[in-house]
Symmetry: C2
Subunit: 219 residues, 2 copies
């Protein structure tokens, strides 16, 4: 992994684990666009599925990509500067394309600064609540018959303290959720939910629009 702390981005091979990224960033005051939770397929799997647990526009946090198309072409898309996205964007259609546009080889993530972070959990009532301050990540996990709401936030110390107080949950820690998905992580009823999808073992990708499939065939 290649950390560019001053420019706030990280270049990670697709096979890097999400918790490996957290380890690499430890002590830097910089955070990636996903919570400290290990998921199938590492960074490449995460990007193919369009992220996890985010309460923001995840594709914008993927600054660049190298990927291999279904026909075997290797494509470099995007760059490392977020402000200056110049058009002809092949990064954003790849993110969340569930493998239809190919396989990621390397991912450039935007990092964001934070002086503090908090990972909390409390019982989940079945609907994702509107929270103030709004944490950057929110998901629900079924554990031994009980659904828990997990929230992860980072940012200014005061902001994180206010979140901690308002959320009023128990402390949580980094988790490995790969064992929940022995047949792969897909969309479908299962023990995990975020703001976009329920995630199930062996679940399917969402149906792709016809035009998007056409696009995939062209690559």
């Amino acid at each position: 992994m290649e950390l560019h702390a001053a420019d706030q981005y990280l270049v990670a091979p697709a096979e890097a684990g999400l918790l490996e990224v957290y380890e690499r960033l430890s002590g830097t005051g910089l955070f990636p666009p996903f919570p400290p939770v290990e998921l199938p397929g590492g960074v490449g799997g995460l990007v193919a599925r369009g992220g996890f647990a985010q309460a923001f526009f995840f594709p914008a946090e993927v600054l660049g990509l190298t990927f291999k198309t279904p026909k075997g072409r290797v494509v470099r898309a995007g760059g490392v500067v977020v402000k200056n996205v110049q058009g002809y964007d092949l990064v954003r259609p790849f993110v969340g394309s569930f493998g239809l546009l190919g396989e990621a080889l390397e991912v450039v993530f935007r990092l964001r600064p934070g002086q503090a972070s908090a990972f909390l959990k409390k019982p989940f009532a079945g609907e994702f609540p509107e929270l103030t301050p709004s944490p950057r990540f929110l998901f629900a996990l079924l554990e031994e018959g009980t659904w828990w709401l997990y929230a992860y936030h980072f940012g200014h110390e005061k902001e994180v303290a206010r979140f901690r107080e308002a959320f009023a949950g128990e402390e949580a820690g980094p988790m490995d959720l790969r064992l929940l998905f022995p047949q792969g992580m897909g969309v479908g009823e299962g023990p995990l939910r975020d703001l976009r999808f329920p995630w199930g073992d062996g679940g399917k990708p969402p149906a792709a629009p016809g035009l998007f499939r056409r696009l995939a065939e062209a690559l």
Copy 2:
């Protein structure tokens, strides 16, 4: 134009002017992802060129699109909810594709709230400065032989007041810049610059990567 103030989005026909959008939003406390400046092609032209003057990731502010592909297919892409972008994204590749993927018919913009706004100008030294607070929009315009730096910001009253003080410029107002581009607004040396490009009369679109052209042909 169809304003959904509670849900903070606006549906605009591609031919709507940028200043018409500002008029429509007047008094609502909501702002679009472009400054109060009229440009060629209205909303459709703006989206084809990938926005104007933004210091943020413009494509994320385009929530949805209806467009006509070069082969004449009419495509509805995206939706009206930013958090829940579900993948298979055809909106973001369209934004900034300079007509290569077709022509916008209707655009759904995310709106953002602001209690106050300020449009200021001061002499431009040739490089875009790092400003604190950082205004949402920044561009440079050549007027009668002198380059001016224009900055437009909106947000909380205090934030805008701090910007006004730090920038220390003269008041500016809505402008019609269409007359600068009788042969069309494209990328190239001219009397207008933003963080991405110099914009010139009759300028060309930037060169598209081969894979992107392939994608365009498939639509």
